[in-house]
Homo-oligomer: 344 residues x 2
């Protein structure tokens, strides 16, 4: 029976397991491991995994063809070391961490040459954490950044693409440096702003009065302040330069608003700025770039067959055709993917 291993059974790892179960791929075993005691058992009861293993090596051993690392980012080097000796030749390793450049470096350094690493980052999730927050539909309609390593071959990439498709997400091919630079702006900066807003307010001597007047605006803007400290810390540590760059640019932009608000002579600039922002955001919401619908049920079945075929090695005939089809369906990613394939 082909096997997938999931290391780290929090909200993301658990949701991947539940999504695989939802897809009902025939004859597939999902093994799991979580370093926190009792989490593996909960994941098995929730249906996120079939087998609760006692170590990352045990989950990945006995020939797992695909290993998904969904631990906090700062734990990834240790997981890669633990996996090293247990991985079958030709195994595909992927991850779900919020930054990609450092993870690719770790994989390059710590994984044997006989396995392929394809970085991944599902652009889903929330401030909730743990297996209790896992949801088979978490990734439906979301983007999922894909950053293959230099060594990853086509079949490894296709295996990860199948997983992403089964999870209801759409792959976004991107260079790891670009990825880290962009998510610094749209994900990591918001996290820091959210934490800073909350700590500013809650550290104020007037906090009890502020809290009494805090409505949905404050609660929404500080939602990310409830993120896992491990996640926030790992992001800051592995995407430092990009994050500092965007913090500085944000400080400049806030300064621009400050000047407009302070300027009582020029009323027009402020009103026009707010009008422009409202318009642009409404446009963004109405025409979200590359935000696709989840795959239809029939596609999922096909992708399940495809994933299984890839895992058991029976894909040679369809592989190039499928890959070609993927390229044609995603013209925007064409060059990035081709470059990756040529690199690999």
């Amino acid at each position: 029976v082909p096997r997938i291993a999931i290391i780290g059974l929090g909200m993301i790892g658990g949701s991947i397991g539940l999504a695989l179960r939802r897809a009902a791929v025939p004859d597939l075993e999902v093994a799991g491991y979580d370093s926190e005691w009792g989490v593996g058992g909960k994941a098995r009861k929730a249906g996120a995994i079939d087998r609760d293993c006692r170590s990352a090596g045990a989950a990945a051993g006995e020939g797992a063809k695909l290993v998904v690392i969904a631990t906090p980012i700062m734990s990834i080097p240790q997981v890669l070391r633990e996996l090293g000796g247990s991985l079958a030749e030709g195994a595909v390793v992927t991850d779900t961490a919020s930054t990609k450049r450092q993870v690719l470096r770790w994989a390059e350094e710590l994984l044997p040459d006989t396995v392929s690493f394809v970085g991944g980052h599902p652009m889903a999730g929330s401030e909730r954490t743990g297996i209790e927050a896992a949801d088979a539909a978490l990734f439906d309609g979301c983007g999922w950044a894909v950053t293959p390593s230099m060594k990853a071959d086509e079949s490894a990439l296709q295996t990860v693409l199948s997983l992403i498709g089964l999870a209801g997400a759409t792959p976004v091919f991107i260079d790891s440096e670009e990825h880290d630079s962009y998510v610094a702006a749209v994900s990591h900066l918001p996290l820091v702003l959210s934490a800073a807003l909350f700590s500013l307010a809650s550290g104020s001597p007037a906090w009890s009065d502020l809290a009494a007047l805090a409505g949905t605006a404050f609660r929404d803007l500080t939602r990310l302040a409830s993120s896992s400290p491990d996640l926030a810390h790992g992001i800051c540590r592995t995407n430092r330069e990009n994050l500092l760059h965007w913090i500085d640019r944000f400080a400049d932009e806030l300064g621009r608003y400050r000047r407009m608000i302070a300027d009582t002579e020029d009323d027009k600039a402020l009103l026009e700025t707010f009008a422009r922002v409202q318009l642009d955001r409404d446009t963004f919401l109405r025409t979200p770039p590359r935000r696709p619908q989840p795959a239809a049920a029939t596609d999922e079945v096909n992708m399940g067959e495809q994933l299984r075929a890839l895992l058991i090695g029976d894909y040679a005939a369809r592989r190039l055709k499928d890959l070609q089809g993927a390229l044609e369906r995603r013209p925007a990613d064409h060059d990035a993917l081709r470059r990756k394939l040529e690199d690999g």
Copy 2:
């Protein structure tokens, strides 16, 4: 038939009308006016008002005892001028604007001495706008800041309290200066941060790539960037000093995070800061200060009777008892209210 007039039939004014209808106060007429053509008709069809009037004066005229101004804040002086000559002696005027000090000044300056002004600010709402977004349950469980003017008498205050109770909200007695200072931190600063984050990202040359990677974090953090430009502008113009103060404090706090992120030697401070923020926010969510449940149905009936009694003037016997009860039920607001009553 006692009458309430609602001037401005957007999301807030419309929701107040729908909440009054939900409360089913017997023999009460709700007249409405909106300066935008067609909005009054829509509000009447939606059940938010009984009568669509052709001017603020017409809606408030013919003896309306309570006038609710729910227009954009910068329109309030003009509305107050229009109302001036039409208001019945003893009428109560309230508003729903996001800032209170400037509104109280305008009321002081522009309303005749024969009417009472009680400032109000429902801490509800969203970035949505217009009568289409009106909802009878919008205020359920929310706080509603109450800032009586120096001239407002007890019955005027009690009338506004009844309206707030009928809407399912709970009054938060607060001085207008304190109000503006606090909401600058928990409402107006978030609005500016949200707009600045969106305009920073959307103004970047990499915007199409950023947008493709933008997930729930970015969408949530920029939600307030979709606020009405009139609202945002009015807030900045009427709460300038407080807002500038909190922008500066936020810039300092962001600088503190920047230093921790840049400091690769001291890992502990960053991790501990995120852990503390997560803990404090979870505490805040679990024990929201003074965030009460909506009034039960029986209370609403009583409040409807009370509001009607107040409007028709038949309240003298119960007034002091009710007020005393209100004081006992809200010990935290006791002093503020007593001060207000003594001032008034």
